[in-house]
């Protein structure tokens, strides 16, 4: 990606399309779409992305389907893009003429991995491909389930970036034993968690004196501890995590 100084991360929202997704979409477009559609989206005779002239894709959902499944009888062949990648490509294509690519969103994945395991200490809570603790969610395929914009917000520690099911819980059993952990499932009568010792624990609520679902997570904000460029590197690394092939 071209790196330029500019607006703070996440500050742009182009009419419902998030700036980070637009930039990720630009990256994907530049690598995979540009050879047919051209830099400005106007190289294909029947489909002019620059003018918004692509009648096969009146809605974002249909545009996404066409990117994923291809269009029979054309050179548009099926792809293996993940849902976040489709989101990003749609965001970029819908904003191809107006996209502001002046902020830093995506950096170097290799640098990002080093920051993840080093300065950022992400690896002290998160697990990737069997390495690291399980106290926070496993991120081995996070790049195929979260959009670039969602991941960027999580790096900034924004409230709500943790899925509700993954919220920290504090349990006091009837005998006074305290269990802290991360919720992974719950129903009317029971709750399941991974406790601080990384064990699977299943509890009947009737046996508990106290069950507290914490709304804030231990996920820190990296707004101060990492530079914008470093955060962009970490984001690039996270987007590259798509599980085992």
């Amino acid at each position: 990606m071209v790196v330029m100084a500019g607006l703070p991360l996440g500050a742009q929202d182009a009419g419902g399309y998030e700036q980070t997704d637009i930039e990720y979409g630009f990256y994907l477009y530049s690598n995979h779409c540009v050879s047919c559609h051209g830099e400005n989206g106007d190289m294909e005779r029947k489909v002019n992305l620059r003018l918004g002239d692509f009648p096969n894709s009146p809605s974002d959902a249909l545009l996404g389907n066409n990117i994923r499944d291809g269009i029979p009888g054309t050179q548009m062949t099926p792809t293996e893009y993940t849902a976040p990648e489709i989101t990003a490509l749609v965001a970029y294509v819908r904003n191809i003429t107006t996209a502001n690519l002046g902020s830093i969103s995506l950096g170097d994945g290799g640098q990002g991995q080093a920051l993840f395991e080093g300065k950022g200490e992400c690896g002290s809570c998160h697990r990737v491909f069997g390495r690291g603790p399980r106290s926070a969610p496993d991120l081995s395929n996070i790049g195929s389930v979260r959009t670039a914009a969602q991941l960027e917000r999580a790096i900034l520690g924004s409230e709500g970036s943790t899925l509700p099911i993954n919220r920290p819980v504090r349990v006091v059993k009837s005998d006074g034993t305290v269990i802290n952990g991360r919720r992974i499932n719950e129903d009317t009568f029971t709750v399941q968690l991974i406790d601080d010792h990384e064990r699977l624990v299943s509890l009947e609520k009737v046996t508990l004196r106290e069950l507290t679902i914490l709304t804030s997570s231990d996920m820190p904000s990296y707004e101060e501890t990492l530079t914008a460029e470093e955060r962009a590197d970490v984001l690039a690394y996270l987007l590259s995590l798509k599980g085992l092939s």
Binding site: Q113, T190, K242
Partner: protein, 554 residues
């Protein structure tokens, strides 16, 4: 221009990272001594000897009538539910078809996590996209998939750690068995004998997923046994010899035993003259190297698809009168019940346990004295055999082996010439029903209701005595069965059938002590375990796993 890290680069890096220790949870020592912790079920067959006998005795003949359902797990898949769950310290791990793993609270049935592997659309298993279960070592589960991959999965998070391609699914290779962990290795075998594969058993490093050894179940040119594929053609290259079910292991001998499937094409032996080793055999392999120590072939140059698709049952029992013998018990698909010396492979005894007319008996070395039936006449047993993949159990209390059998089941065989085409069926049949108007018997599940009669076949649980080969008792069912058998130290035998009944029988007499109607075919092997001192019995039926416990226990 700065670039995102490539997928390939990432994979390489992840493989270079120091691996998580595999000693935190289920150690190889615990697996060796699995029978000493009967509250758990640590391997597919309960222990390395594959006796499926539990030392738990809380549920007993005098209270089994008080069993009640404690919880049910509903699978999302409508495919046959052939899983044997593992239970480790209160957590149950099971598979549902085709290749989904679920971790459950073994006491309450609540789910911890679910991992779904979507098999390649290239996979083409002959007989259902089923899965029979998992293996565990340390904090890692191992699943063999229908698209012939071996996947390591974290027990806590349910996330995959590595995937290894074992074989090419587009050529018909598939895996339906639960892997067997021995030491630091994960051993699997491939199915695909209906597609002209060349079968093999292979061991993989539990940490890296790298292949450690491979044993081809059809010897190649220059290897001993290759001469049993006579005629000098390429029959051996497409000769099948699949592995459908998990093997067993004797730590003292350091031998692992595996049953090998039919030669291909299934029903036309004229296309593959010779004995066709090691099809329809048991092989004893060095667990460290995969080298063949001995073999015993049950059905040479098989006409009938009589796979040795059974789990070898290892018992120490004095049957020859010279002290405790290291035995292998084997009720085979071909209708004979064998007793072998598992140190040497020597044949000790073999007797029919169902109606058999393809052979008049076995000679002193265990080779069948074949009596081929005239063209158009009925051969017994039928294609699914006297028994099939569902496991028997052996009780050291009664010294009996309990076998789910198909009785009075025959087929009419008409061999057909067939050409090998990669990835296509390679059968040389098909056999037909001897009873006009009766539904055909297949191993795939129950046909429409209101048409099953005594003209087709019937199922039974048989208690066989390894000392004599004789039947000690018989529990007869109307329909056939694909249920494995479980026995317990309290002299109970649990088994079910295709009618959806789950039975508890008296291990000494075969008397019916309790039954439950589960509303779907039991095509799985029941297990027992305990949590917080309370014993449970679990059986999969239809598309659900049912767990029973005593009425007064919560």
């Amino acid at each position: 221009m700065r670039r995102l890290m490539s997928r390939a680069g990432l994979l390489l890096l992840s493989l270079m990272l120091p691996a998580q220790s595999l000693s935190a949870q289920v150690t190889s020592k615990r697996l060796l001594e699995a029978a000493k912790e009967p509250h758990n079920w640590l391997t597919y067959s309960g222990d390395y000897a594959s006796t499926r006998h539990s030392l738990l005795r809380q549920i007993a003949p005098d209270n089994v009538g008080e069993l009640e359902m404690k919880w049910v797990f509903q699978a999302r898949s409508l495919e046959k539910f052939e899983t044997t769950p593992l239970v480790v310290d209160g957590v149950m791990y099971l598979t549902e078809a085709p290749n989904t793993v679920i971790a459950l609270d073994a006491k309450l049935g609540s789910a911890f996590w679910r991992y779904e592997h979507v098999p390649s659309s290239e996979s083409r298993p002959c007989c259902g996209s089923v899965n029979r279960g998992l293996a565990i070592l340390g904090e890692t589960l191992f699943m063999a998939t229908i698209d012939a991959q071996l996947i390591a999965i974290d027990t806590i998070s349910g996330r995959p750690i590595w995937k290894t391609a074992v074989a090419d699914p587009s050529l018909g290779y598939a895996m339906t068995l639960a892997p067997l962990v021995i030491g630091d290795k994960v051993v699997v075998g491939v199915a695909g004998g209906e597609y002209g594969i060349r079968g093999f058993i292979a061991a993989y490093d539990a940490v890296s997923g790298d292949e450690v050894w491979r044993f081809y179940t059809i010897p190649g040119p220059g290897e001993p046994g290759h001469e049993t594929w006579e005629g000098g053609g390429d029959a051996w290259e497409h000769g099948g010899a699949s592995v459908w079910v998990t093997g067993s292991y004797d730590p003292e001998l350091n031998l692992t035993y595996w049953g090998i499937g039919n030669p291909g094409p299934d029903w036309n032996p004229a296309q593959r003259p010779g004995d066709n080793l090691y099809s329809d055999s048991v092989v004893a392999l060095d667990a460290d190297t995969g080298e063949l120590e001995w073999h015993f072939q049950f059905t040479p140059n098989d006409d009938y698809d009589y796979d040795a698709v059974q789990v070898p049952v290892l018992v120490d029992l004095d049957v020859t009168g010279v002290g405790s013998d290291k035995l292998m018990l084997w009720a085979n698909r071909n209708g004979f019940f064998y007793v072998l010396d598992r140190a040497t492979g020597e044949f000790i005894r073999g007797t029919p346990f169902v109606k058999v007319n393809w052979a008049s008996g076995l000679d002193e070395k265990g080779r069948p004295i074949e009596t081929p039936q005239p063209l158009g006449a009925t051969t017994y047993p039928c294609v699914p055999g006297g028994t099939n993949w569902f496991s028997p159990s052996f009780s050291p209390n009664t010294e009996l082996i309990y076998v789910s059998a198909w009785e009075n089941c025959g087929h009419v065989f008409r061999p057909v010439e067939v050409e090998y085409r990669p990835g296509q069926r390679f059968l040389g049949g098909p056999p037909t029903s001897p009873n006009p108007g009766a539904p055909g018997v297949t191993g795939r599940g129950r046909p429409l209701i209101n048409n099953w009669t005594e003209d087709v076949a019937n199922g039974a649980v048989l208690a066989l005595d390894p000392r004599t080969g004789e039947q000690r008792w018989r529990f007869k069912m109307t329909d056939v069965t694909q249920s494995g058998v479980l026995s317990t130290a309290s002299d109970l035998v649990f088994a079910g059938g295709r009618e959806g009944y789950f039975h508890a029988l008296d291990a000494k007499t075969g008397e019916l002590l309790w039954k439950a109607t589960l509303g779907g075919s039991i095509a799985s092997c029941p297990i027992t375990y305990a949590v917080e001192g309370k014993q449970y019995v679990a059986a999969a039926a239809g598309s659900a796993l049912f767990v029973f416990g005593l009425r007064l226990q919560k």
